[in-house]
């Protein structure tokens, strides 16, 4: 959502609308995480009155979807692809292969035996 997008472009890698969106979601999650955790604590605390916990549940359910961690998806830094990402390198499998064969990734070489 546009209200979570930074006013000034701040991505230093490949950028398309999907990576920008994912970046905004990450920043929104970071900003709202303490609030979410507080609500989660109230909900899980059985010593609190049921009404308080129910209100907290409603509040948590009412938060914007961008503040949820489940919205975040690792994307390729070089192509923005959302599938087949190697977590250690933050690259999609094909970009990883290209970079590895070109020798741009230290410590990675093609297996041969």
């Amino acid at each position: 959502m546009s209200m979570f997008r930074s006013k000034k472009f701040d991505l230093g890698c490949f950028a398309n609308v999907k990576t920008i969106r994912d970046h905004s979601k990450r920043k929104a999650f970071e900003a709202f995480e303490p609030e979410r955790q507080a609500l989660r604590y109230v909900i899980r605390n059985t010593t609190l009155p049921a009404r308080t916990r129910a209100i907290a549940q409603l509040q948590l359910a009412g938060t914007h979807c961008y503040t949820r961690s489940t919205q975040i998806r690792n994307r390729c830094l070089m192509g923005g692809k959302g599938r087949g990402i190697l977590r250690d390198f933050k690259l999609s499998r094909f970009n990883f292969r290209l970079q590895a064969l070109a020798g741009n990734i230290p410590g990675v070489k093609k297996a041969s035996w």
Binding site: F9, D10, L11, G12, C13, T19, D22, H23, R26, K27, F29, E30, A31, E33, P34, Q37, R40, Y41, V42, I43, R44, N45, T46, T47, S69, I72, N74, L77, K90
Partner: protein, 105 residues
């Protein structure tokens, strides 16, 4: 020899006081598990590299000194656009002011 439960509880309580842990014999769910969790936000938000200063920023910095930064890429682009414009192939002009009809209705 069976030890009475009350005595065991006392022992537990003393233990908890000594080692400053929570005394919770009924095992009530207090949600402390949530408070113990570390915040994942900073790590997740650092996934994409942030934009560093580029030539345009440098130009902006030295503008006051009356200096010019050689930015080949930008010059090439502007030259290309100027050539397109001469041939009448450039992008159309932007509309001025907000449009009266809203797209999202």
């Amino acid at each position: 020899m069976a030890v009475p439960r009350a005595r065991l509880l006392e022992l537990m309580k003393a233990q908890c006081q000594l080692f400053s842990t929570t005394f919770n014999p009924e095992r009530v769910r207090t949600g402390n598990k949530i408070l113990r969790q570390r915040l994942r936000g900073p790590a997740l938000a650092a996934y994409y590299p942030r934009k560093g200063p580029d030539l345009l920023d440098l130009q902006r910095e030295v503008d006051d000194l009356g200096l010019l930064v050689d930015n080949d890429e930008a010059d090439d682009r502007l030259e290309h656009i100027a050539a397109l414009k001469l041939r009448g192939k450039s992008a159309p002009k932007k509309k001025k002011g907000p449009s009266t009809e809203s797209k999202h209705k």
